[in-house]
């Protein structure tokens, strides 16, 4: 089960990003092995279509669940088409690790 969390930095201690397509980094977290990896989000520099590029990236990395503050309309459509679940968090989460813990305990908000 692979999570991808939008993040301001490149570690589990980084502040999570409330934006999806324009997040500076994505943190991939494997719930089965607790292994993680950080990826720079190349979509952040795009003049348009960042949400689609980011969703394509998640799909190519076989993400099961995307966690972010908010998903734009294009990202939402693309992630839905890719069969990737979406859950949102708010500004109270201080680190990516907190978001992961919040996901594990079922405290995040599902997006249909």
């Amino acid at each position: 089960m692979l999570l991808m969390i939008s993040s301001q930095g490149d570690s589990l201690h980084s502040q999570p990003s409330l934006r999806f397509g324009r997040a500076p980094y994505f943190i991939q977290y494997d719930l089965n092995s607790d292994e993680w990896a950080a990826y720079q989000n190349k979509a952040v520099m795009e003049s348009g279509g960042a949400g689609v590029v980011a969703a394509q990236f998640l799909s190519d990395h076989e993400t099961d669940v995307a966690l972010s503050g908010r998903f734009g309309p294009n990202a939402h459509q693309a992630l839905s088409a890719a069969g990737i679940q979406m859950q949102t968090f708010d500004g109270q989460y201080e680190t990516v690790q907190d978001v992961i813990n919040g996901y594990k305990s079922g405290n995040l908000t599902g997006v249909s």
């Binding site: 279509g49 459509q77 890719a82």
Partner: protein, 291 residues
Amino acid sequence: MNALKIAVASGKGGTGKTMVATSLATSIVPEFKVNFIDCDVEAPNAHLFLRPEIKETQPANIRVPVIDEDKCTACGICVQICEFHALAKLMDRILVFPQLCHGCGSCQRNCPEGAIKEISRQIGSLKAGTTGAGIQYYRGELTTSEPMPTPIINQVKKWADPDENSVTILDSPPGASCSVVATLHDADFVLLVTEPTPFGLHDLKQMLGVLSQTGSPGGVIINRDGIGDENVEKYLNRTDYPILMKIPYENRIAFGLAKGHILSEFMPVYKARFKKLFQTMLGRINGGRSR
């Protein structure tokens, strides 16, 4: 005289682009055949001053891709080719995002399976008419919620199709983004309107950066002269861009504009000033051509 294009742009919004563009157009007609194109397709407003009678309207369409699922092998070439990320490959299917599509046609031309056809999608409309003073008037209108102004700007410019011996005045959108570049990239002269404030200077610098890329000659009008500070003038004195006119910050100008009147009509002294400005621009354009 060849067909001449003069773009009026600003960087900062609300500096007086439309005031300048409408005054310039009104001052040189009927001596010259004048086309006026309102390229601010997200919020066109020059018609409030020029009051043209609209005689023709046509849809502004772009061609967007449709995937033939039977032929598509989901090879993903179209996704890699699309500069605008209007296509994505998800779960072995190609998904189209029509609102991101610029209608360039690259996906269709590069699909090895011939699985992409294009359909028309309306994103706005084009309008044309004439004003009482005899100005040929054109504008583009982007449909509310559509994100992409540039195709409409290109279409309205193409539609206007200025002939020899005409002067075309392009009223640009604010900012220094794609829609501004689409408006002024082929202009013979770019007239920048700014105000003497830090914000005016900041955005003016951005516009001078755009002009250094497009290579168009340009000059600056300082509007609301008397407010703010000296820094715009000081800055321009260190560049090759001349200050062509200063328009003072005056109540009667604001009152006249608020009534929807054209500056060079309610204050005729400006008619003479804009005529002279036009001659100055002609001189600078021809000077540049002979070099």
